[in-house]
């Protein structure tokens, strides 16, 4: 076992890159008599990755700001209206709000009718506010209840054209008076169709080392290679042999110890509500798979004492995937909701592996921390189809893999 600092050193320089010497390709090309030039790598620079990440965050921030902005502006304005019944119109509104506590419908009807034009003009601001708010308040039914249903007044038809404005006003005041809100009712009544989520998930199957004995040999553990110090036999067997220009017989036995770490996934999801229960899901996921391999090579050259050589490699695979699926809401209360979801996902490997296709099923629970925001936890099972590559990774080792996803959901106003 080597000292710890050597591991740190190796890990620190894992995948390190340096600028190649000038004129290198020209030299190779000349030596091998090639007549092609290297294609400029269409690499996506780190800067571009950061720009893309910043754009996504900015977009999410913008939506959050839009939502927070509306609610934070509305509330003080509404409170102000409620507290300062200075104009006759507002007095009328206040009267309207008090109407349910007294039986003064005839006078209210009279007053509102006479003030109608002024009320409409004056109420522009508050109506705008109400319109905005109407996205958040279950207006018509709730207002009807507060203004008409409770007082079984015969004067209802007399209020006529102004009823709507008054209803809106009344509902605004009712909201400012009561801090109670029902997320579920609010969401379903106001057709809050779009949601954005930020999520992270990880695999749940324990990491384990998988050892294979010379999987590259046909039938037995020992491969006999006769070589005349060719470059290949040298590099694949004993490094020292390159310095000797003599023929030798090399027996090689390789064991590979593979350790696949738990996958990590980060994503942005969008959800479109088709009806009260069903929603369409999609998004963009970034997945990171990390594996460690230890090759132990036993080499016997010309029947000499066996040489043991260890080589450790690490493999980092990055995927960008687009999931598509449906979710079905099973149950909901004021703050909680339970749902199940099914999805399929196609992932592009950013290294050189082929596309990865998977299907999955999950069950989740969401807790609403505010009108717009919810926290959710979603255990799931995914089946990862063989990508057909030769490289080993977590999903090949565990095609049926459980995972757990958690995140934040932002419900957007229509």
């Amino acid at each position: 076992m080597k000292e710890d600092w050597t591991d740190k050193l190796r890990q620190r320089l894992e995948g390190h890159k340096a600028e190649p010497p000038a004129g290198l390709w020209e030299g190779i090309s000349k030596q091998m008599d090639l007549d092609v030039k290297p294609v400029r790598k269409a690499a996506i620079s780190k800067r571009l990755y950061w720009t893309a990440a910043a754009s996504v965050l900015a977009l999410i921030g913008f939506f959050i700001y839009q939502n927070v902005d509306e609610s934070s502006i509305d509330k003080p304005l509404l409170t102000e209206i409620a507290k300062q019944p200075v104009t006759p119109q507002e007095q009328a509104i206040q009267t309207a709000s008090e109407r349910k506590h007294s039986n003064e419908q005839p006078s209210l009807a009279h007053e509102t009718r006479s003030q109608e034009p002024a009320l409409t003009a004056q109420a522009v601001n508050s109506v705008q506010t109400t319109e905005k708010k109407s996205m958040e308040i279950p207006h018509s039914e709730q207002v009807e209840e507060s203004t008409t249903a409770e007082d079984s007044s015969p004067a209802e038809p007399e209020v006529g054209g102004t009823t709507k404005s008054l209803e809106s006003k009344t509902s605004v005041i009712a909201v400012t008076e009561s801090n109670d809100w029902d997320i579920e009712q609010y969401r379903s009544h106001n057709e809050q169709k779009w949601s954005i989520s930020l999520n992270a998930s990880g695999g749940l199957l324990a990491e384990k080392s998988v050892e294979r004995m010379d999987r590259f040999s046909k039938s037995n553990d020992l491969i006999a290679t006769q070589s005349s110090s060719t470059e290949n036999s040298y590099y694949l067997t004993d490094p020292k042999s390159d310095y000797k220009e003599k023929e030798h017989i090399t027996y090689t036995n390789t064991t590979i110890d593979a350790k696949h770490h738990l996958p990590i996934r980060l994503g942005v999801g969008v959800q479109y509500k088709l009806n009260d229960h069903l929603a369409l899901l999609s998004g963009l996921n970034y997945t990171y798979l990390f594996s460690e391999f230890l090759h132990t090579q036993t080499t016997i050259v010309d029947h000499s004492i066996p040489h043991y050589h260890n080589d450790s490699y690490t493999q980092k695979l990055y995927y960008l995937g687009i999931p598509v699926g449906l979710s079905w809401k099973l149950w909901s209360s004021s703050r909680f909701s339970l749902y199940v979801a099914g999805q399929t996902m196609l992932e592009k490997c950013l290294n050189d592996n082929p596309w990865q296709w998977s299907v999955g099923a999950s069950a989740g629970a969401e807790y609403g921390i505010s009108r717009q925001l919810g926290l959710y936890l979603q255990p799931s099972f995914g089946y990862y189809f063989n990508d057909g590559s030769t490289s080993e990774h977590y999903y090949k080792e565990h095609p049926l893999a459980p995972s757990i996803e958690f995140g934040l959901k932002l419900h957007l106003n229509p």
């Binding site: 080597k2 000292e3 600092w5 050597t6 740190k8 050193l9 190796r10 620190r12 320089l13 995948g15 390190h16 890159k17 340096a18 600028e19 190649p20 010497p21 000038a22 004129g23 290198l24 390709w25 030299g27 190779i28 030596q31 091998m32 090639l34 007549d35 092609v36 030039k37 290297p38 294609v39 400029r40 790598k41 590259f216 060719t230 470059e231 290949n232 590099y235 694949l236 490094p239 020292k240 390159d242 310095y243 594996s291 391999f293 090759h295 040489h307 050589h309 260890n310 080589d311 450790s312 490699y313 493999q315 290294n351 050189d352 592996n353 082929p354 590559s389 030769t390 490289s391 080993e392």
Partner: protein, 180 residues
């Protein structure tokens, strides 16, 4: 996909060679500079390495990208060693391995500096220190194997590593101190 690239190179597809070159040249350059810090020397080593990679690939059994990349790095490391051995005798300071444990000092803390800085500091080590450190740390050789490879004693290999470690730790500390 690398496997397809390898297959195309086996069929003498020159475009595939340029693609492979483009994909790995920076990582292989990093390995090469660790052994051979001078640009002109590194160019010769890398040139020979790529020629060997392209010509040896035909008989190579592809075992996945990680293994393939490891093999290419090994080609570069071996080529660099060949170059160092042919060019001059390595400057090695003989040291009694028995004294090493008593002189133990601080260990390098590579996590405190950037990979670029660390790479640079390794390049700045004297030839002998750097070569043994590379073989021991990055190639995973034992002192016995290093001794055989470089034609030195195991004790010398151990002492070179000890001094390399101590000097690297000091250099890392200097860099972190300078940066405050």
């Amino acid at each position: 996909m690398v496997e397809q690239l390898v297959e195309r190179i086996r069929q003498k597809d020159q475009r595939a060679m340029t693609e492979l070159y483009q994909q790995y040249v920076e990582e292989l350059s990093s390995v090469c500079y660790r052994y051979v810090p001078q640009e002109n020397d590194a160019k010769d080593v890398l040139q020979n390495s790529f020629v060997k990679i392209f010509t040896s690939i035909e008989s190579l059994e592809y075992r996945g990208e990680a293994s393939f990349k490891g093999w290419m790095k090994k080609v570069v490391a071996n080529e660099a060693l060949c170059y160092l051995k042919n060019r001059k005798k390595l400057l090695l300071v003989e040291q009694d391995a028995a004294n090493i444990q008593t002189e133990f000092e601080e260990e390098p803390e590579p996590e405190r500096i950037s990979p670029d800085n660390l790479h640079q500091l390794i390049m700045e080590l004297p030839d002998g220190y750097r070569t043994v450190l590379n073989l021991f740390v990055f190639e995973g050789y034992s002192h016995r194997q290093i001794a055989e490879l470089l034609g030195i004693s195991e004790a010398t290999s151990a002492s070179q590593l000890f001094y390399a470690k101590r000097l690297l730790a000091k250099k890392i500390k200097d860099v972190t101190r300078r940066k405050g």
